[in-house]
Symmetry: C2
Subunit: 424 residues, 2 copies
């Protein structure tokens, strides 16, 4: 018998069907037993007068007849004929799959990741995340961007300040890429002009915070023939307007289990652009103390300000000082053509225009204590003709976290890696 | 003035426009100069009576009037008013960007990767590759598969026989994942049931062949509630039918520069499924010698046989012997429920049903000299209820190579990594 998905049972009223899924919950009321079955499409009540010898989370096929029942979730239930076991579960679960994850700590959630991901509330995080990846690609492809896949093992470890992981590569050492920065610039200059990459990025930072992980998915974008970072800001504004509109249109269910609200596309359109100096002033006035840089606390102040003044939880900050940005950032006096995007108190994007002129690059490198040789073939991108260009990267886990309002970024990585965690 | 893309110039006949792009070629005929300009959309002839002081590959804006010219490629040219330089190129190029890459060796192509990618013929490989990734995701999403992003740094290095790269991870060692095998199985058992991943995979093998690279992009698929590897074969057949049809529909230009022909969807539908024993018999009869395993030469024989007998360059081989497959492969007597797909003489896929029963897994491990502890949390997937499932992976670079008929897989990786190459 062909399998029916739970979401489709109403169409089979009165008919014999077969459901397949996990035993989510068993309630034995003495004489009658209710089994909640879970498949990828939803949950369904299965009712039987027989004794049920099943463990929670066993995978079964349930044969029976679809019957209307006002009290059943969805209005229908399966009157059981018989179960067949496809994959038996041991009796004691290491994680409350059918419970509220808020009642267990994040450590248990991550230690028992293989099982905690079955919790429907936890799993909804990753259904939403998959949707974000899809919308990201859709918008960019429809704007003539080409997807690239660049190497994550690089021969030189000198992109910027952050520390890198070393890999034993045959008889030498290489490094895990902190970002596809150089490669996406190379692909703009290759003639693709507009590229994006969805890939892992690695930071060997010893952070232990709720906003850092050592391996994350970077949604990278780079575009040629721009004039300043404002073109890139408007590109990201358009992209996130599309993504937020799509989430509100298609992903309500995954939002609702977390009681979350996604910003509207309209709110993205309204996100103000303020300079780094203006941002510091806003923070200073709010916190009533001198401000030297934009701290996590400052980011929260800025989001509150944007909400109050502009009715949006998003704010772009541009014109970062030169010393706060990597060497490849395009200068503008003592400032740079660069920006951050802060969303609900967390920086989710860094971007800007990059240096595209070989002479300017050569002038800049010594100021950062660097040489052209250190950069491998990077300088070639500019030596042989490169358009003005820029781009940005969105941290996928941070974006997911902020849309759903979750407390810790690690909840938004399937198998997160931090200083202490490399398993499962 | 707003930029016009080269592909759109016909619509601007007689009008002043501005093109942006790379100086592809300069022909000075004394008194009149033709400059071929290249942008992401195509190439265009720019004509001027003035002297042109430009280097090849400089990035310029060209202002002028669109004029019909039967002799110009596309039927239109730009009568130049003036050039403005956006990114100047040095005079001596390290790679013949406007030449035939067949005339230079693969070593120069890869050594000068930053510039060789500008060669339109070489760049077309990666436009096609981006399309393959797009079609792969489209087909799977429309069949209710969810995209996942799993960690590439794993705490245990014991998935199978292949050697792994070690990473210095703070005060311990971890390994680069050879595949997302365990994670995609975990996500089937999480309740997503149907998942795919597009991500890097790492093999520390000391091969130096035209079919191996040490870092590649793996197109991974895993699906629950199957009966045997035949369900997975039919899934891949449907997927590749879709991909090949789409390539033939949309990517003719990138195929033509290589003189390549993509199989039709019909040919994919006709791909036969033969057992490992049958395959060996076919190879034995053709080569007239005893055959113990399916070598690269054998794969070429099988493709020739499929072409001759079934009119298709694709052939599935199933029922591999148990000793040739990893421990997690579902057994079928002394054989397994597993398969390879050979395409134009090259294996591009390995797949099959996996063991989903905890007892069977525990029985199997010692036969492969393994313990449950070695596997980190892997056994938990099965201990707590897992549906029958299976999947496969397609090597993106191999698929690209075989569609375009290229000699070396390294041509199909933007920044390939082999024993000696980690730059650029």
């Amino acid at each position: 018998m062909k399998r029916t998905l739970i979401k489709d049972i109403a169409a089979h009223e009165g008919k014999e069907i077969m459901l397949s899924g996990w035993v989510h919950r068993i309630r034995d009321l003495g004489g009658v037993t209710f089994v909640i079955l879970r498949d990828r499409s939803g949950r369904c009540q299965v009712v039987t007068n027989d004794e049920v010898e099943l463990n929670q989370e066993s995978v079964v096929q349930a044969y029976g007849k679809v019957a209307p029942n006002e009290k059943a979730p969805g209005g229908y239930e399966l009157a059981l004929d018989r179960f067949e076991i496809l994959g038996a579960a041991e009796p004691e679960l290491p994680f409350p799959v059918n419970g509220d994850p808020a009642k267990v700590g994040i450590e248990l959630i991550l230690d028992q990741r293989m099982i905690s991901l079955r919790n429907p509330k936890i799993l909804s995080i990753f259904r939403l995340q998959a949707a974000l990846v899809k919308y990201f690609g859709e918008y960019l492809r429809s704007n003539d961007f080409t997807e690239i896949k660049s190497s994550k093992m690089i021969g030189t470890g000198t992109e910027g300040g952050t520390s890198v992981f070393e890999v034993e590569y045959f008889d030498r050492k290489v490094f895990l890429a902190q970002s596809p920065q150089f490669y996406k610039q190379a692909m703009v200059s290759s003639g693709l002009e507009r590229v994006f990459e969805i890939g892992h990025a690695y930071r060997a930072e010893k952070h232990e915070t709720s906003r850092h992980i050592n391996e994350y998915v970077s949604l990278d974008v780079e575009m040629g023939f721009i004039e300043s970072e404002m073109d890139i800001i408007e590109l990201e504004r358009g992209l996130l307007t599309y993504i937020f509109d799509k989430v509100n249109e298609n992903n309500k269910a995954d939002m609702e289990v977390w009681g979350a609200t996604c910003p509207t596309g309209e709110q993205m359109k309204k996100a103000p652009v303020i300079t780094h100096d203006e941002a510091k002033k806003i923070i200073r006035e709010k916190l009533e103390r001198r401000v030297f840089e934009i701290s996590p606390e400052g980011e929260r102040v800025l989001s509150a300000w944007a909400e109050e003044e502009h009715g949006t939880p998003l704010v772009f900050i541009n014109e970062f000082p030169r010393r706060k940005r990597p060497f490849y950032t395009y200068p503008k006096g003592t400032k740079t053509m660069s920006f951050d995007l802060v969303f609900r108190g967390l920086e989710i994007t860094t971007g800007g225009r990059r240096i595209n002129e070989y002479d300017m690059l050569r002038e800049t490198l010594p100021r950062f204590g660097m040489t052209e040789e250190q950069l491998g073939g990077y300088a070639d991108i500019f030596k042989y003709g490169c358009p003005p260009h820029g781009g940005f990267a969105i941290g996928l886990e941070r974006l997911t976290q902020k849309i759903l309002g979750l407390g810790n970024i690690k909840e938004c990585s399937l198998f997160p890696r931090d200083r202490k965690r490399v398993m499962p």
